[in-house]
């Protein structure tokens, strides 16, 4: 059991938070998406989603690009290579923890 607790404590805390885990899992399944798509999928409010994305960007897991589609502003989001590696390791760690 001690080993299990140690494995759980070694899980990536940035990704382990449920909201951020959902964001990273969604981004892992696509090449890129916009803010509206994540808002729809996660059912979070804009403030929560923004703060989670800021935390993930700070950790270098998510790349945020502000652009325009025609005249409409669009925020594009994609997982970085580091983010993908971290997510894969998190999933392995999750299996190992149990």
């Amino acid at each position: 059991m001690n080993e299990q607790l140690r494995a759980i404590s070694e899980l990536n805390r940035v990704i382990h938070e449920p909201g951020r885990l959902m964001i990273v899992a969604l981004l892992a399944g696509v090449k890129e998406c916009d803010f509206l798509f994540l808002l729809n999928e996660t059912k979070m409010n804009k403030g929560n989603l923004s703060s989670h994305l800021a935390r993930l960007e700070e950790a270098g897991y998510v790349e945020i690009e502000k652009t325009y589609r025609g005249k409409v502003p669009m925020t594009l989001l994609r997982l970085t290579r580091k983010g993908r590696t971290a997510f894969d390791e998190y999933r392995k760690g999750l299996m190992a923890a149990f």
């Binding site: 399944g29 696509v30 916009d34 803010f35 502003p73």
Partner: protein
């Protein structure tokens, strides 16, 4: 994404190891967690099939094939008859990509948001294998059907090599088999289109049964050879696909309203 077969083998190995160590409950818990993550990762791809655009595209293609066949029978003989038939054939070819593009541009992006998928090698491999299998089946079918459908005989002493072609008018066993097989293929495809949404739309099971059962019945009610039986079957299947897609699209539009302008 990883190879699902390799993942399954790894999963079975893990279960065996966990059984030996007496901790299956924990492993199942972890597997559940992982399955949940996998579900979330695959969710964005479901929008392409849950809004009915695929069904509308496929239904339109079948309707165009049927109209193309009818055009050659109904329209009076003129240079336009062939052109009208070709026009419907062209429409059939472009119906699916146009519907998917329009759904992405005018339905998914304004309501759900923009999403782009990663290029997958396995998809291309699947497409190439599919094309090879389809070409093989087509060649085998044509080789099998030519002796049955075409009766070749010398027509004149002046042209010994020339032949006349006459079609038989009563359905043979292979004609009925082909019609029933086509119905089965379309029914399976219908299930594949609706693998995600059929849990929510129970009425789609009725459409599935119609697509599966009606082609042999139409073939029975509309006697003739395979080519004569095909247009009404295509018309029916196209109509069912199209109507099913339109109902799904209306449901989708009602349940996914576009966000307020200040959403971003």
């Amino acid at each position: 994404m990883k190879n699902p077969i390799a993942q399954y083998i790894q999963f079975v190995r893990n279960i065996e190891r966990a059984k030996r160590e007496g901790r299956t409950g924990e492993l199942l818990k972890a597997a559940k967690e992982n399955a949940e993550l996998q579900k979330i990762m695959l969710r964005p791809r479901q929008y392409a099939t849950t809004n009915g655009a695929g069904e509308i595209g496929w239904g339109t293609a079948w309707l165009c094939f049927a109209l193309s066949s009818y055009a050659s029978v109904i329209l009076p003989a003129s240079p336009w008859r062939g052109r009208v038939g070709m026009f419907f054939l062209l429409c059939a070819c472009v119906a699916m990509p146009i519907c998917l593009w329009a759904s992405k541009k005018f339905v998914i992006q304004p309501r759900i948001g923009y999403v782009a998928f990663r290029p997958e090698k396995s998809r291309w491999i699947g497409m190439i294998i599919g094309m090879v299998v389809a070409a093989g089946v087509s060649i085998a079918l044509s080789l099998w059907l030519i002796p049955e459908m075409i009766h070749a005989a010398p027509s004149s002493a002046h042209h010994a090599a020339a032949t006349t072609v006459s079609m038989h008018d009563t359905p043979s066993g292979s004609d009925k088999l082909l019609i029933a097989g086509g119905g089965l293929m379309n029914a399976i495809l219908y299930l594949m289109f609706n693998a995600v949404s059929i849990k929510e739309h129970r009425w789609k099971w009725a459409s599935f049964v119609l697509i599966l059962v009606m082609p042999p019945i139409i073939g029975h009610l509309h006697p003739g050879n395979y080519l004569q039986m095909s247009p009404p079957v295509m018309l029916f299947q196209g109509s069912v696909y199209f109507l099913s897609g339109v109902i799904t699209l209306i449901w989708f539009l009602r349940h996914h309203q576009p966000p307020a302008p200040e959403a971003e």
